[in-house]
Amino acid sequence: MEDPRGVGRDKEQIIHSRSTEILLAEYHKKIKEAFEVFDHEANNTVDVREIGTIIRSLGCCPSEGELHDLIAEVEEEEPTGYIRFEKFLPVMTRILLERRYRPIPEDLLLEAFEVLDSSKRGFLLKEELIKYMTEEGEPFSQEEMEEMLSAAIHPESNSIHYKDYITMMVIDES
């Protein structure tokens, strides 16, 4: 006599593994697509400096420190300055499957700005933003700072109204 529940479980498992397979295949294709756009020489390698962009373009947001570790993991034993797709694929697949480095939700981002805006004015002065972003945490490079300022700073008030800024950036992405 078979235990009907057991059969049910088996079926479930089969369905489960098949859907995992499909999921995996989809992840692989998604990763391949994102990788290929940066593979300028079409030889299944990308410049190591673009790995961060690729991982983040796949919706994962590791910190700079975490990114550093990931690069160490996918790099060749003797670093060539290039990352091979074969090395990148399993690491990236695992990240997606484990849903690691989830992106920062909007409300948390707003909270962060509010912490920096200690006197609750609803804005940060350009100088304040520069100070926090280049001196605290994982500091921005000059290029990153300038790029952020170009969209964030209102030229007349010379400040960032962070609520509007976040709304604007979120709309741009959706």
């Binding site: 697509e33 962009t53 983040r56 920062i104 962060a112 350009k126 100088e127 972003m133 945490g137 741009d172």
Partner: protein, 661 residues
């Protein structure tokens, strides 16, 4: 924002803070930095996706262009009507150069420049002040009179004829050289280069590495400045042929149109002599016996010794490969010969035979003009462009070693930064048309070679506004424009796509999975794109992640010039409109812009047969009747094809998720 501002910042904001507060600040900064880096990376990826779309569509279009040459051979074999009525087409397609150009120069001197002409007046023989004069006049949007254009072309041809296939130049401590890539009729980029780097002169040597014309709006002006400068400094300014210095390419990519628009009376003569001038452009330049400068690239079989000896002027167009001397094609050609001989205006087919290159020679030149480097080893056909090859680092090393050279400098491919180095530094790409695909899409660059030093790169970007928009706005604009042209490709294949989706959607739910959708898109459109990432711009997705595949056809349709026509016919005409335009232009050898109904019908039937299009002849007949607006038995095909326009109802995709087309 300058460096100065950055260093000057934030002194004296606050003093002592509690440890807890400073930890909170640190965490907050980390959150913002992490979020921003993610945002910025996604922005960068979006920029890449947009460029990938532009490039894939550009190359797919080139592939269609290259395939036309098969159609032309097919046409010659099947469209006897042509040889009976118009031997000129036979000679145009099978490469006999017009011999009578020389007589025409006297005629040009008879063209009068009226007193009312306010544009620049050139003085032959040309001297440095003429370059200055021309640059100033073009900055004020003046147009050079056809008489001068023609004379510059004739003079240029005479001097070019004296040049070898490869020009040898040397640098010295007092003599450096500047190399520019594709300009594509972008006059502002040429002005910017001259502004930054100086006008050409004995002490300021230049190499322009092909693709001077097509695509941009000022091809004739770019060409005139280059040719006039070349005539003043024939030993200090070098011009290499690009794949767009080809009259058949100009038919598709805009230069022919530009000339006929700017020169209504003498346009035809300009086109005729230009066709000839192109064939005399040198193939490449060799600097210090070390650096090979050519437009596209090399192939495994590239043989510079052979290329030095080739009679380069026999290379008329990439669409006119040499006719093989044995097998079926030979008898076909014989048939032509007989037909052509019987013609009133005799085409000497025997001359046209000796006037063609061997297949091997022809391929050698095509490889130089059309190839692209790739990271993968070996040499294989350039499948995305349909011409030339892809060459790997091993091919580069082999060919360079074989000829005792150190480096290849080439152009031909748009690069985001204006230049790119690959193959271990042995291949350098330089591209000088900034904003090539769209405002902000890429920078332009030129290379300076100093004596005994590594090449130095100079980048620039032409901007119309003085104040740059923020990056995200610029990228959004590029992205919108890329998605727009992609949607136009999609709508042109609507019937085929729906068919492909239906094959996947067995339950007729109107939905397919993301993977199925991407598969159908890639296969039907023949474009290799990051479909999964692009899906959000093209289709709506339900909560389970399934694609409402009909949603890519909403808010866009092809405008029908003839209401009754069926959508498959409209899609086909729209899809092949550039090909048809070239075919009609070739038939219309006197550039009248008109072809007879009869010509239209038979050509269309041939086209259907060759491209395997299944459309009833009666539908086409009906269409032809309607196209003949004034009922005089002839069709203005340019106007007709222009009428096929895609209408975008909304530039940004509709937000509602449920609506169907």
């Amino acid at each position: 924002m300058s460096t100065h501002d950055l260093e000057d910042m934030g002194c004296g904001t606050s003093s002592a803070k509690s440890d807890r507060q400073s930890e909170k600040v640190l965490k907050a900064a980390l959150v913002i930095q992490n979020w921003y880096r993610g945002y910025s990376a996604r922005l960068k990826a979006r920029h890449r996706y947009a460029l990938t779309i532009f490039q894939s569509i550009e190359y797919a279009d080139e592939q269609c262009q290259m395939q036309l040459s098969n159609f032309f051979s097919f046409m010659m074999e099947n469209y006897t009507h042509i040889h009976e009525k118009d031997p000129e087409i036979v000679s145009r397609l099978f490469g006999s150069t017009s011999q009578n150009n020389e007589d025409k120069q006297d005629y040009i001197r008879l063209i009068e420049v009226p007193d009312s002409y306010k544009g620049p007046r050139l003085q032959f023989p040309l001297t440095f002040p003429d370059i200055d004069l021309l640059v100033d006049a073009f900055k004020q949007q003046q147009i050079l009179h056809a008489r001068y254009v023609l004379e510059v072309l004739f003079e240029t041809k005479k001097v070019l004829k004296q040049k070898p296939n490869f020009t040898h130049v040397t640098t010295s401590p007092s003599k450096e050289i500047t190399i520019c890539g594709d300009l594509h009729g972008k006059l502002d980029d040429l002005f910017l280069i001259f502004y930054k780097n100086g006008l050409p002169s004995e002490n300021n040597s230049y190499i322009f590495n092909g693709d001077f014309v097509d695509r941009g709006r000022n091809s004739i002006e770019v060409l005139m400045i280059l040719f006039v400068s070349f005539l003043v400094y024939p030993n200090d300014l070098h011009l290499n042929r690009g794949n767009h210095e080809d009259f058949m390419m100009n038919l598709r990519y805009g230069f022919t149109k530009e000339i006929l628009y700017k020169y209504k009376i003498h346009g035809k003569e300009i086109l005729e002599i230009l066709e000839d001038v192109y064939t005399w452009l040198p193939i490449g330049t060799i600097i210090d016996n070390e650096i090979l400068v050519i437009h596209g690239g090399i192939s495994e079989s590239t043989d510079l010794d052979l290329l030095q000896r080739v009679e380069r002027h026999k290379m008329k167009s990439v669409l006119m490969p040499p006719v093989p001397l044995d097998g079926d094609r030979h008898t076909t050609l014989k048939k032509h010969k007989i037909n052509a001989m019987a013609m009133p205006r005799e085409v000497k087919s025997s001359t046209s035979m000796s006037e063609q290159l061997t297949k091997h020679e022809w391929e050698q030149i095509i490889d130089i003009l059309w190839s692209d480097p790739r990271g993968q080893k070996g040499c294989y056909p350039n499948t995305s462009r349909g011409g030339g090859c892809y060459f790997g680092p091993d091919v580069t090393s082999k060919v360079l070693n074989r000829h005792h050279l150190k480096m290849v400098i080439r152009s031909h491919e748009c690069k985001p930064e204006g230049y790119e180095i690959c193959h271990d530094g042995k291949v350098v790409t330089v591209f000088s048309a900034s904003n090539y695909y769209e405002e902000g899409s890429n920078r332009g660059a030129y290379i300076k070679l100093f004596y005994d030093m590594d090449p130095r790169f100079f980048q620039y970007q032409v901007t119309r506004t003085t104040c740059l928009k923020p990056l995200y706005q610029r990228i959004s604009a590029i992205e919108t424009s890329a998605i727009r042209i992609l949607r136009e490709r999609i709508i042109a294949r609507k019937t085929d796509l729906i068919h492909a989706f239906h094959l996947q959607d067995l339950s007729k739910s109107g939905k397919v999975s993301l993977g199925q959708w991407a598969f159908s898109m890639e296969n039907t459109l023949g474009l290799h794109l990051p479909w999964r990432s692009l899906s959000s711009h093209l289709v709506t997705t339900d909560t389970d992640g399934n694609i409402n595949y009909m949603s890519s056809f909403q808010d866009i349709h092809i405008q029908k010039p003839v209401k009754e026509a069926q959508s498959t016919l409209i899609e086909t005409l729209y899809r092949y409109r550039s090909d048809l335009q070239i075919i009609f232009n070739v038939i219309d050898s006197d550039h009248s812009g008109l072809i007879s109904m009869e010509e239209f019908r038979s050509m269309w039937k041939l086209f259907n047969r060759h491209y395997n299009i299944h459309i009833d002849d009666c539908q086409v007949d009906e269409l032809a009747e309607r196209m003949d607006l004034n009922k005089d038995g002839s069709i203005d095909f340019n106007e007709f094809l222009k009428a096929f326009d895609v209408v975008h109802k909304l530039d940004k995709k509709h937000k509602s998720k449920s609506s169907f087309a």
